[in-house]
């Protein structure tokens, strides 16, 4: 079902674009160019992009940029954004301080 795993596909070289310096992930200050380069460096899934660049890993947890990053990666790969598996959903759903996250059952 997932065409994105077909690693034999040739997506061509990275071609610089005038808007490469535009910030896409505001929290982690990741630019469009960095995301595009990452795709050409072999990061074809959203999970890989996140681990490589930290896009979507900041304060808003990708609330703003995940859709934008997905669009950029999909375009670079020449696939529809719908074909890209979104990042893993896991707890904590919202950014939380470790002291809070480790503080179990305070009021219950």
């Amino acid at each position: 079902m997932n065409t994105v795993v077909d690693r034999s596909k040739d997506i061509g070289p990275f071609i610089p674009a005038p808007d490469d310096d535009m910030i896409i992930c505001r929290c982690e200050e990741v630019t469009k160019g960095e995301i595009r380069k990452a795709v050409h460096a072999g990061m074809w899934t959203i999970t890989e992009i996140r681990r490589y660049l930290r896009s979507g890993m900041g304060l808003c947890q990708g609330q703003t940029c995940s859709r934008l990053v997905k669009g950029i990666v999909a375009r670079e790969l020449g696939v529809s954004p719908a074909e890209l598996e979104p990042a893993t959903a896991r707890s904590p759903m919202r950014p939380t301080e470790m002291k809070v996250f480790g503080n179990e059952e305070v009021s219950a």
Partner: protein, 525 residues
């Protein structure tokens, strides 16, 4: 760890509706919401809702929110605020951040009604302060009483873009333009028309080229795009603004469902990542149900019905109601939902280019391109008729499921006909008594009372007016056309504000006779 029959995540229209249905059937229900106020988006909605009586039509959104909260409270639903659900684990264990700690709850059923988040588009300068979501602007204005900016450009002409533009004007901002890359206005024509007649220009097939400013937004340049959304050189237009609002769609916040192991799909028609659900919101995990925008972007009225469905499904799942009761309730709710999903803006018509109304009348092309119906076009719609004396003129030109006007007229002047989506028309055999109830009842502010010949070469026009300060009787100014251009002198003859109008004030202006069918807004001179 505390156990509940039902844990609802999100205290918006669907979550609250779900909790009410479940509690009614005897379930022990708790609702968590990460915000400090309940109601989700409802408490930001200061406009009157569309629909029929059953759908809370002509009631303002925040009032509906208050009603739901009250009902939930009376039924013993626990609503916990400032409570952020952190995770949804196997066997329906939920972790919630409350204060500085994490609490564990076990739900025997879970309803996820987490709603959606705003989309953004990028352009050079989009990260500058002053670029905000339209929903954020609404939160600032309507929840916190803060004016988002002074000069605003709105990107997006869906209902969110149109409604928020109107509210920005109400808050005292100047909306310099409404811009959309699409060739047609996406939201209701009546919402567009009420913004256009205040003088806001619409730029369809346009998008933002860049925003300027060092520390914050000081200006924006837009340009026209062709049918493939490629910018056309030389079409740039510049505006001095301090705020750019983006109303470019919503994405479901469905991560909790994904985490819980529900089967998901990427469905562009539903707005992105959504759970795969049956007709009533039940996901692939038994006992986990999705309701509202999280399972597909729609609006508050349908979210409330989906919430009710989810609530009953949860009740049946745990044996709090019989399968028969479930089936019967769902049948009623399905009909309700179906009646909302009618007309030109129904989900099934998304993306379709509709040329004619259900009555076979050509849709106003100007409305879709410029946000207003032209003087020539308006005459072909059934709500627009000419009569001696005061009579209603209903500038309702698109089939949407809505009918408060019909019930508002105690004299029976107005009829919608068989289908709730029909365009209203004036019945010839009844007499208008100039009470103004129809004008105030129209959620689209599309009804006017007109006396085309009030004597001495004058005509009178009564229009809905939701701006402060209200002009005093005798104030002189100008009559604005549907396009928002000054077309004639006008004088305020009366200002009516009675409780039954629910804050829609009725302004009666006197204009030269020949402008009876053209003047549709008043501007203080």
């Amino acid at each position: 760890m505390e156990r509940y029959d039902l844990i609802v995540v999100g205290a918006g229209p669907s979550g609250l509706s779900a909790s009410i249905e479940a509690a009614k059937r005897g379930m022990k229900v708790i609702v968590f919401d990460e915000n400090e106020k309940p109601g989700g988006q409802l408490f930001k909605q200061i406009h009157k809702f569309f629909g029929s009586k059953e759908h809370h039509a002509k009631i303002r959104g925040f009032k509906i929110g208050e009603e739901l909260l009250k009902e939930a409270d009376e039924l013993g639903v626990e609503v916990v605020l400032n409570a952020t659900v952190m995770g949804l684990y196997i066997d329906k264990e939920v972790t919630v951040r409350i204060g500085d700690g994490i609490n564990h709850y076990k739900g025997d059923t879970i309803i996820v009604a987490t709603g959606a988040a705003e989309n953004m588009v990028t352009f050079p300068g989009w990260t500058l302060p002053g670029v905000i979501g339209a929903g954020a602007a609404q939160t600032m204005m309507n929840l916190h009483g803060i004016k988002p900016g002074n000069r605003v450009l709105m990107l997006g002409t869906g209902n969110v873009g149109l409604v928020v533009s109107f509210q920005l004007i109400q808050a005292g901002c100047e909306v310099v333009a409404l811009v959309d890359a699409a060739p047609r206005v996406g939201g209701y024509g009546v919402h567009a028309a009420k913004v256009a007649r205040t003088g806001v220009p619409f730029y369809l097939s346009h998008t933002i080229k860049e925003a300027e400013g060092d520390e914050f937004i000081t200006g924006v340049t837009i340009h026209e795009v062709d049918s493939t959304f490629t910018p056309i050189p030389g079409t740039e237009k510049h505006f001095d603004v301090d705020t750019i609002c983006m109303a470019v769609g919503l994405s479901p916040m469905s991560q909790l469902l994904k985490m819980a192991g529900c089967e998901m799909e990427d469905n562009p028609k539903r707005g992105g990542q959504v759970p795969i659900i049956d007709d009533y919101g039940r996901t692939s995990v038994p006992g986990i149900i999705a309701a509202g925008d999280v399972s597909g972007i729609e609006e508050a009225s349908s979210a409330m019905i989906e919430g009710k469905m989810a609530g009953v499904c949860a009740a049946e799942y745990l044996g709090y109601c019989t399968e028969k009761e479930l089936e019967e309730t769902l049948k009623v709710l399905e009909n309700d939902l179906e009646s909302l999903r009618q007309g030109m803006f129904a989900p099934k018509n998304r993306g379709k280019q509709i040329e004619k109304t259900e009555e076979g009348i050509d849709i106003s092309t100007n409305l879709l391109k410029k946000g207003y119906v032209t003087d020539e076009e308006i005459e072909r719609f059934p709500g627009v008729t000419h009569k001696v004396g005061v009579h209603p003129v209903m500038e309702c030109t698109q089939n949407i499921p809505c009918n408060p006007c019909q019930d508002a007229c105690k004299k029976g002047c107005i009829s919608i006909g068989e289908n709730i989506t029909n365009l209203p028309f004036v019945k010839n055999d009844s007499e208008c008594i100039n009470c103004g109830m129809c004008v105030a009842s129209c959620s689209g502010q599309a009804i006017f009372l007109v006396d085309e010949d009030a004597g001495e070469g004058k005509a009178t026009v009564t229009l809905p007016y939701e701006f402060l300060p209200l002009p005093a009787v005798g104030t002189r100014g100008f009559g604005l056309s549907r396009e928002g251009k000054i077309v004639c002198d006008a004088e305020v003859l009366s200002v009516k504000s009675v409780p039954a109008f629910d804050h829609t004030n009725l302004l009666t202006i006197s204009v030269p006779k020949e402008y009876a069918m053209r003047a549709r807004f008043f501007k203080v001179g």
